[in-house]
């Protein structure tokens, strides 16, 4: 599997993914912020959290924040740049543009979107639980503080790199890919009698 052709496919996949990511990450952040806000609002009463993408950051706002106070900006690329890793790993396949392989890639990308939404929800609660001084202490106990902060820290240190690898392993890898690539078969010609 890991021969020169696979390396070339990964190289091309990496640059195509980079170009796609640079082109569409702002649009992606709008969808990501919307989904994470909806999920956060589901467990709030009243629903006060607002997430708005702005120049590569996702601005965290609450309707009950004082009007003049600063709004924290959460760096979007840190959460979703691992899309590039997912595409590169899927590009390792011998026939990366096969219909079934593309379908499996889309399923993995959909799962990665859910991972991004969850990571952003954890980051929002991590900010609420640890960065807002007395308000944090009044609204989040020690267990909740550690749960949200450690959850997001795990994503930062290991999860964001492990997620594309795990999704590729589950959806994109073929069993024979851990074996050396076999040479292409040559057709046998029938000898004329």
């Amino acid at each position: 599997m890991l021969n020169a052709r696979a390396a070339l496919r990964a190289f091309v996949g990496f640059f195509l993914a980079l170009a796609f990511w640079f082109g569409f990450s702002r649009a992606y952040e709008r969808g990501l912020a919307g989904a994470a806000q909806a999920l956060t609002n589901l467990f709030e009463s009243p629903d006060v959290t607002r997430l708005a993408p702005s120049n590569g950051e996702i601005l965290l706002d609450r309707r009950d924040f004082p009007p003049g106070s600063a709004r924290p900006g959460l760096p979007g690329p840190d959460i979703h740049f691992n899309f590039v890793l997912l595409v590169t790993l899927f590009a390792l396949d011998r026939k990366p543009l096969r219909g079934a392989h593309v379908a499996r890639f889309l399923a993995a990308a959909g799962m990665l979107f859910l991972v991004h939404v969850l990571a952003l929800v954890f980051q929002v609660h991590s900010v609420y639980a640890t960065s807002l001084g007395p308000w944090s202490a009044a609204n989040y106990g020690p267990v909740a503080r550690n749960f949200w902060a450690a959850g997001f820290h795990f994503y930062q240190i290991a999860g964001r790199f492990a997620a594309p690898f795990a999704l590729w392993w589950l959806f994109g890898r073929r069993e024979e890919e851990l074996a050396p690539e076999k040479p292409a078969r040559t057709k046998k010609r029938k000898r004329r009698a």
């Binding site: 990496f14 980079l18 240190i157 069993e175």
Partner: protein, 183 residues
């Protein structure tokens, strides 16, 4: 469904479960304050020190203070996520989760760790150079390009190592033993 694909699927999911469990354990170890203070921070400072020496030998006049590399107009602080430890954790969890002999695992871990750290050193040096001479490119180079390259390198190293272990694990599996008998 035939027996072989079910068994392969089970092995695959088993690997993934072991991988995630090991990653969680490694994370808990690395994130704990005593390990962070006694191992990770000094290790990161050593990376900064070696990078500073290389940058100075290239004529960049860099000064190193702890985990920070500075010059008159630019400075970077090497934090967790930039010291190659995260890729080493990923690689280590994958190698330990994969069926292979302990000797091969230890050899793989050692060689992989060294290779990842050499690449990460190159990353720190080039990022400092980019920050100093092409500051507009620093953010995307830091967050997206180099981070992806180092992690991909770790994953590809693992795949390369795992592809060399495959005959061993295949021989140990029931299907592999059957093939050996017929062979």
């Amino acid at each position: 469904m035939s027996e072989a694909p079910v068994s392969a699927r089970r092995r695959s999911v088993g690997f993934l479960l072991r991988f995630v469990a090991l990653l969680l354990v490694f994370y808990l170890i690395v994130a704990s304050h005593p390990v962070n203070d006694a191992v990770i921070v000094p290790f990161t400072a050593a990376i900064a020190s070696v990078s500073g020496r290389i940058l100075n030998s290239l004529g960049e006049r860099a000064e190193v203070v702890g985990t920070e590399i500075r010059s008159s107009s630019f400075g970077v602080n090497i934090e967790n996520g930039c010291n190659g430890v995260e890729t080493a954790l990923l690689f280590g969890a994958a190698v330990l989760a994969f069926p292979a002999s302990w000797k091969r695992r230890l050899l793989g871990l050692l060689a992989g760790f060294v290779a990842i750290q050499v690449l990460n050193l190159l990353r720190v040096i080039t990022l400092f150079w980019i920050g100093l001479h092409r500051p507009a490119l620093f953010n995307s180079s830091h967050t997206v390009i180099w981070q992806s390259v180092v992690v991909l390198f770790g994953v590809l190293l693992f795949l390369l190592w795992a592809s060399r272990q495959n005959p061993l694990s295949a021989e140990r599996s029931p299907a592999g033993r059957e093939r050996s008998r017929k062979g």
